[in-house]
Symmetry: C3
Subunit: 324 residues, 3 copies
């Protein structure tokens, strides 16, 4: 676990983040980035270049990082490596070559868990995990946590329902691990019995003495949850699991469920949405998923500037520390 960005050369696994790093380094920086973004035309990353290496397609994560980089004056380029070309070259060689080309950050999405550790071992610049297999998506966890913090005003002492396909939805893995480090957080995993959280996550949570339980119906926690974190319910796997509940309402929200929720609670969703978050329901201000998407840009801007600053302690980025 890492208290300072200086000890965090790569962003690979949410398990590497400490609560103090998240709360004291990242989030305040994200608030600054919100202002920097609003002012427009920042030059904080001018001359800096991010390269994306996508072994699996990505649009949202890729575009969010692209926006974060270019809004700070940096450049972003990327390639997708199709299934037919993935074995053409060892991942380590690809990383070494990109480092030798002088890129400042590597953003990698890969279909194998563990690929990120190999990539980061071969890299002379920060590697950022944009999703590895069904494992981790650590920057999604950071933006989710940031959104909770901003929306409910604290990142402790709350109840969160994590809902849907908990076996394969990597956002949830990373977020659960991160939230388990925070005081007085109650994790409630709501999924079909065939799509429960993985044993490895359950063990890690138990080891961390996290307060969690597992349920099969979202309505059971609607009245008490401060945060309802939905995931896409109309995957093939969810369709299979829900054969007898085609509407999927037990893993989504509708007006009835929103009526049971606290006025101060929020609904999050990593998007794209499916039937679990019906069109138009975002009119309820508690549905925060578009603010969550926006926050992703600020959190990623914060992350990039912190990573760079940790490598270049004399850069002008350090001036961002002086805050009113």
């Amino acid at each position: 676990m890492t208290a300072r960005t200086a000890d965090l050369p790569h962003i690979v696994d949410a398990a590497d983040f400490s609560a103090s790093w998240v709360l004291d380094e990242l989030f305040p920086r994200a608030e600054i980035m919100r202002q920097v973004h609003a002012l427009g035309d920042s030059r904080l990353l001018t001359g800096r270049r991010m390269f994306g290496l996508f072994f699996q397609p990505s649009t949202r994560t890729r575009v969010s990082f692209e926006s974060a980089t270019t809004s700070l004056g940096g450049t972003f380029s990327a390639i997708e490596i199709g299934a037919d070309a993935q074995d053409d070259e060892p991942l380590e060689d690809r990383v070494r070559v990109l480092c030798s080309y002088g890129y400042d950050f590597l953003l990698i999405r890969h279909h194998e868990e563990g690929a990120m550790r190999r990539a980061s071992a071969a890299s002379s610049v920060p590697v950022i995990n944009a999703g590895d297999g069904d494992g981790q998506h650590p920057t999604q966890a950071l933006l989710d946590a940031y959104t909770i913090h901003r929306e409910i005003g604290r990142l402790r002492d709350f109840e969160v329902a994590l809902v849907g396909d908990l076996t394969y939805e990597r956002s949830v893995n990373s977020l659960a691990e991160l939230l388990a480090k925070l005081p007085d957080v109650r994790l409630r995993f709501v999924s079909p019995s065939t799509l429960r959280i993985r044993p490895a996550i359950r063990e890690r949570l138990t080891a961390a003495r996290a307060d969690f339980d597992e349920l099969e119906d979202l309505s059971a926690v609607a009245a008490t949850a401060d945060v309802v974190y939905l995931t896409r319910a109309h995957s093939e796997r969810m369709a299979m699991a829900q054969r007898f509940d085609p509407a999927g309402l037990r893993y989504g929200v509708d007006d009835e469920l929103l009526a049971k929720m606290k006025p101060s609670a929020i609904v999050l969703h990593p998007l794209p949405r499916g039937a679990e978050l019906p069109l138009g329901i975002e009119a309820d201000p508690r549905v925060a998923c578009f603010r969550q998407a926006e926050n992703g840009v600020y959190v990623r801007m914060a992350l990039l500037t912190l990573l760079l600053q940790a490598r270049e302690p004399n850069s002008r980025l350090t001036r961002l520390e002086v805050r009113a």
Copy 2:
């Protein structure tokens, strides 16, 4: 109809353009952009970012906008959304997320007529239609009209032959509607009988009291036309329609047809060309299709700066108004 850019938040339909906006706002700005482009390294859009969302592939329109944006110092990025991913997410959600990421312009090409109205309703920044279905391609119409204006010295009192697949060629739909607003323009639609202009266009032209007729052979108007606007003749549809005229000369130009044309007339083509504009014929200076392509960059630079200026009335772009 819009007289001023301030009343034109999105560029969706050529029907929204007034003659005065085209002649008094857009074209003079395009002339300035021609100079700005020649000088190189403009910073007028530094820090501004355009995002392209392509539900249908595009190379020419996309690259033309990319060039317009980057030549003004802005950045351009885009994604193509393949047929398999088009139903993954509502168009409105995609637009909302891109707005929340802070992009300044959205360029959208979509396979459904009407998609642009939905996209622009969901957008907090200008949406530009890069072609919707078989419907509209309004910026193509603007660059076509600009080219006519520049090449023949006026945008009134001329005869234009619009030639080819008039049912499905969206450039022609948008251009005909725009030209119909101008005084003393005679529109001559030349097409196989199976590929005539659509009833909806015919009705709009009649309502606008446009002077137009429909023919089946380009040679009938060669001697009188001031502008011959060709479209690609070797589409499958054209091949079907022309079964008995495989050379396709009735919908294209060759040396013989050029010989019949006025010395002051011009031949336009949105490119890419087919058999209707034979290789080498561009040696005739009346064939203006490459100047037309070039003009597209200036018109789009003009459009972007006008849209931005309308949103930010105090920006330095307003200084461009002071012209010698």
Copy 3:
């Protein structure tokens, strides 16, 4: 043959490069670019734009040029033209349109030998060959030669083994032609008998009075070669040719072969590697393939600035001539 960049409007064929241009113009400039790159955030190409037109896929060459361009402050954009769209439009039209859009450099990869001459004839800006069919890859030859020069301290008086599929590996064609122009270079072509250098290359080398021979086993020259230039051995063609030598060691290196090599010799490889350069063998400092990849960026930065300077003799780039 070209002694000065001013006489080299396009980069099409290694046969166009003179030894003096390579040694006296390009390589010193590449050394400067190494420094420029290390300093970061150069503005030498700010406002300049390269466009890539890829009729065949490329990752390494494309990304290397992208890095070269963006590290100098320029912008890079590109399209891939799939097999289904390649006949949509004459190459010359594509080039003319891109020139009219104002791009400063065109980078083209094409599947037909000779396409580059057609493209450069139609272009008003420098065309750079990023590989044409099985023919030429001239900038790869430049970076290879630069790496030899840097690694062994001279570009004359050495023995080089060019190894593998010499019929179809275009890097080797270009490099052999370039090296044949230099004094006291001994070229040793090592390949299966079915994959020998092409007759046309053999004739050109003979005409240039080059010192060369052809062999079938790399171990025969291991002890004398100063440079071992490997190419990918596990292509289908190589697999066919090596039916009776599945390990492919006669066209690759292993610890045993490295032990036979001179301490001062180097192993080059254009990457991606196959079985001919086993994983881990890069621990031997004589394996220079990642330094070679890095050098590609500096050589391409040098090339771009020289091409631009030749067109704009009064640009500030000329100040780069003043060297300590």
